[in-house]
């Protein structure tokens, strides 16, 4: 069963939790094929600004236009293909670059310089474990900075400073000792008294303040660092200034997390937080290029998150995402995108005064909801925030008109009528929205013309893929399915073609693609679908005719995702040559070709109906993907060109059961199988109308009485 392929707990996340807990790049996803969507599906994103996209995807589209980070989707992997994905729609994780830096090979430049200094000072290092290295990536702890790098930085100051060698040795030794744990109780009094030089004493004061800081004695640390902000040693002066702010921040957030480790911002110490903010601002003013400038900017994000001050936080993110270079970011751009999502986008409920962030929130707030979170009034009130970005504001209003107000004419008025010669993601979004508005008005012709006009201009990653999907959906819904498969069709997306073939195409189109498709999988898929539907729609004469096209023996290889199976599922064409091999339940059938032949001349033939069921049962076709309903409005959801009902084997058995003239043995077997349709847990696995339990009980009684002389009357002990 399919669930066997998912991480057990990940299953739950797929449903309602959206993405909070997922830094993951590997969770299983399935695509939902459509371009226009107003509800979130983290597994099905598109390369235009859409309320249906994950906010991280929308953010990345904007970042790509600002040349901050190109949109670089990972190639479709085996897993993606096994889940049925094509290039679009795509899951969020396809945009996250695989991590490059393995944690088992840490950056050790600090380690090397530390070792060098310690050797020259004659200090042995008993243990190369640093307390700050014991943490997981992203795990929050002030102790993380207690590492080889910060130890090397301190000792290099000790080496540089003016003091006797003995003092130098003592300070270095103490720092190395502090490195081994996340708390430090300070130096023995006797030892401290050995430090007489001015620099030695100052560095000792720093060491003690740092020890207080790591040990959580923030008041003492604060005092200690404050005395050093006027130090004559420049490193000490700068570091102490930064550390006073950092100490204040740690002090402020001491109670900001509840017993479960989740933030409860009402418990933040506001005055300490204010100190931290002023401290970091002062530091950055004094040392804009300082040693700790990057860290200070990162910690300011935390200050603004804890405050909470969404406006400042939005500005932080915008600057760090679009203006800063890698050295000015304390985390990678990918991590910053994740952080913006969890710490800002998904938690703000009010419009921030930052157009880049606000556009993302607006799109989220116009997702389907009752009532939607965004109102026309609120949107009108945002005008001044977008004053510098009028096109962005027009776009948000156009999307609102389409997705919330369902006024496609208003949408069209707000968007540029002319197609620009190059399409960045924003221009592409504008034109996509235009096309969707035209389709919402059922103006299929104009939309088709637009998609075709955009095709040669689509140069950015995934744009062409989206256009092929949009055009295919247009053709499907405007009754021009054959255009998708015309020899000059621009639609080459395999998955799109397979979906249309297996769900919508009629017999003529399937026969055409069997013969002329250039993709061998498409040819086989078309043939499978044709034979399957001929048969299951009880077109027995046509089936016999089409079956002649199947070589003997037919291919044994499984046709999988093109039929809608996932992972290793699939069926071979060979099954249409099923010879009715003796089944384990002892009921004998001829080949499926003969059964079809029988049913063609006698639709109610009891053995024919039982054997039709046997074909489905023995070939594992119960509930196969071709029988699963397509989600409404998605690709391949229009009515199939095959007429008539699909055969259900439960229905077949019931015809035999109700047939007064059915032979004893056939009727017994039909009863046996019909009862088994509900085994072993009371759920019908055979399709067709549900049957009441009382009726099933009646079948069981009949089988055990009237048919007690048959092997099935004897073998069946229970019903469900």
């Amino acid at each position: 069963m399919r669930i066997g392929l998912l991480s057990p707990l990940a299953l739950a996340l797929l449903a309602g939790l959206s993405h909070q807990a997922q830094a993951s790049s590997d969770d299983s996803c399935y695509p939902d094929w459509r371009v226009s969507r107003n509800n979130l599906d983290v597994c099905s994103n598109l390369p235009f600004l859409s309320p249906g996209n994950d906010s991280r995807v929308n953010l990345r589209l904007l970042l790509a236009d600002k040349k901050a980070a190109p949109l670089a989707p990972n190639d479709l992997g085996e897993e993606d293909l096994a889940q049925g994905f094509g290039p679009v729609p795509f899951p969020v994780y396809r945009l996250t670059a695989p991590a490059a830096e393995p944690t088992d090979e840490p950056d050790d430049s600090g380690t090397a310089s530390l070792a060098e200094m310690l050797t020259s000072l004659g200090i042995p290092r008993d243990n190369d474990k640093a307390a700050g290295d014991a943490f997981l990536a992203g795990e929050g702890s002030r102790c993380r900075s207690n590492n080889d790098d910060s130890t090397a930085a301190f000792i290099s100051q000790v080496v540089k400073a003016d003091m006797p060698p003995a003092e130098r040795q003592l300070l270095a030794k103490q720092r190395v000792q502090m490195l081994t744990a996340c708390s430090w109780d300070g130096m023995a009094t006797g030892e401290a008294e050995q430090l007489k030089s001015v620099d030695g004493k100052a560095l000792l004061a720093y060491l003690q303040a740092a020890g207080d800081f790591y040990s959580g004695r923030f008041a003492e640390a604060q005092k200690g660092f404050a005395t050093l902000t006027d130090s004559s040693l420049p490193w000490l002066k700068e570091t102490a200034l930064y550390m006073t702010a950092r100490t204040a921040l740690n002090n402020a957030q001491q109670n900001a997390f509840d017993e479960y480790g989740t933030p409860s911002l009402e418990h933040v110490d506001k005055s300490a937080l204010q100190l931290a903010e002023t401290g970091f601002d002062d530091y950055l003013k004094t040392y804009p290029q300082g040693e700790y400038a990057t860290s200070a900017r990162g910690l300011l994000r935390r200050v603004h998150w804890l405050a909470p001050n969404p406006d400042k936080l939005a500005d932080d993110f915008t600057w760090q995402l679009t203006q800063a270079n890698d050295a000015q970011r304390n985390v990678s751009l990918d991590e910053l995108v994740e952080e913006a999502d969890t710490k800002l986008l998904t938690s703000t409920t009010e419009a921030v005064k930052n157009p880049l962030i606000l556009v993302l929130n607006d799109l989220m707030w116009m997702r389907a909801g009752n009532p939607p979170k965004l109102t026309r009034e609120a949107l009108d009130a945002q005008k001044s925030i977008f004053a510098q970005e009028p096109a962005l504001y027009d776009y948000v209003q156009a999307a609102f008109a389409l997705y919330v107000e369902h006024q496609p004419d208003s949408t069209l008025k707000l968007l540029p009528q002319d197609v620009p010669s190059t399409l960045d993601y924003f221009a592409f979004s504008q034109q996509t929205l235009r096309g969707l508005a035209l389709e919402a008005k059922n103006d299929w012709k104009a939309a088709e013309a637009l998609w075709l006009q955009l095709l040669p201009l689509a140069k950015q990653p995934l744009q062409r893929d989206q256009l092929e999907l949009a055009l295919a959906m247009n053709y499907e819904r405007s009754g021009q399915l054959a255009k998708v498969f015309a020899t000059d069709s621009p639609i080459s997306a395999k998955q799109v073609r397979y979906i249309l073939l297996r769900n919508v195409a009629g017999p003529e189109l399937l026969r055409q693609q069997m013969a002329q498709a250039s993709d061998p999988v498409e040819r086989q898929t078309a043939q499978f679908v044709l034979l399957y539907k001929d048969l299951l729609h009880s077109q027995f004469a046509t089936f016999a005719e089409d079956l002649k096209q199947l070589p003997s023996p037919a291919p044994e290889d499984k046709i999988g995702t093109s039929l809608g199976y996932v992972y290793s599922g699939g069926k071979p064409l060979q099954l249409f040559q099923w010879n009715g091999e003796k089944s384990e339940s002892g009921y004998t059938c001829p080949s499926i070709a003969q059964t079809a032949n029988t049913l063609q001349s006698d639709r109610k033939n009891p053995q024919g109906l039982n054997c039709f069921g046997e074909f489905i049962l023995r070939n594992g076709l119960d509930g196969m993907p071709l029988e699963q309903a397509r989600s409404a409005g998605g690709l391949g959801s229009t009515a199939s060109d095959f007429k008539g009902e699909t055969f259900s084997r439960l229905d077949g058995y019931m015809q035999v059961i109700d047939n007064a003239k059915a032979p004893h043995n056939d009727k017994a077997y039909a009863l046996f199988r019909a009862i088994n349709c509900y085994g072993p847990a009371g759920y019908n696995s055979c399709g067709g109308e549900e049957v009441d339990k009382s009726e099933r009980k009646g079948w069981f009684r009949q089988l055990k009485t009237k048919f007690a002389d048959t092997q099935w009357g004897q073998s069946l002990q229970y019903y469900w």
């Binding site: 990940a10 739950a12 909070q20 830094a23 014991a134 997981l136 480790g261």
Partner: protein, 233 residues
């Protein structure tokens, strides 16, 4: 086996009850899910804390251990399990060190940590590799810590019995999921009885607001140890 089929016959009507977290006392708590009042009655908590990812480029070398929690909890009561999601079993030494270090930090903060739980995408065909991994992990864990894993229902029907038997004595419990997405898996009743075959204590994982009707045979099951409810926002 006969008893099992008979028991199925006795199954109550197919009406289902919604899973009300208030009826249970063991929960999974994941980052991003807001704490709920029902946590006050928790006797057992499974808290997600880390995720071990492999990169596709260099699956053996590029292993990342990513924190999932925001802060170390300060729980004082009940039993706490720390949950790690694993996307790979090829863990470098640093992952073991960091994992055990984190467990230690939790205990030092006073949390009543009783064990760790591994949530791994263990397809049945890889179960053999998984048991080897778990045996090694068991030996690295301090003796007083228990080892739990999440499991899938189809192990009981599809997995190689020899692989399953190897779990015995290595893990202390398996928590079996009965849901997919927000919904209970319709034929769970057909799988659960076979859990007894695993020969290890098992719990049943439910999803808050999902559907669940306790089959009557469950209470009499020798290895059944209760429920864990996955909390949702």
């Amino acid at each position: 086996m006969k008893g099992f089929w008979l028991a199925l016959l006795l199954l109550a009507s197919p009406a289902f009850g919604a899973v009300d977290a208030g009826d249970y006392d063991a929960f999974w708590l994941w980052s991003g899910v807001a704490p709920q009042p029902v946590l006050k009655q928790a006797k057992t908590l499974y808290i997600l804390q880390g995720q071990i990812n492999s990169t596709r480029r260099a699956p053996k070398r590029g292993v990342q251990f990513i924190a999932q929690g925001m802060s170390v909890p300060r729980l004082t009561q009940g039993e706490v399990w720390i949950v790690y999601r694993a996307h790979t079993l090829h863990w470098p030494e640093s992952v073991y060190t960091q994992l055990l270090g984190q467990v230690q930090r939790w205990r030092e903060a006073g949390n009543p940590v009783v064990g760790i739980q591994i949530d791994f995408d263990a397809r049945t065909q890889y179960l053999h590799e998984y048991t080897g991994f778990l045996r090694d992990l068991r030996q690295r864990l301090p003796k007083e810590l228990r080892l739990s894993i999440t499991g899938l229902m189809d192990w009981s029907s599809n997995a190689d019995p020899a692989s399953i038997a190897q779990l015995n004595g290595v893990i202390d419990e398996v928590v079996v999921q009965t849901y997919q997405g927000r919904h209970s898996i319709p034929d769970y009743a057909a799988y659960l009885p076979r859990m007894n075959r695993l020969g290890v204590p098992f719990k049943i994982g439910l999803i808050q607001g999902g559907e669940w009707q306790e089959p009557e045979y469950l209470k009499g099951s020798q290895w059944f140890r209760g429920y864990v409810v996955f909390l949702q926002n």
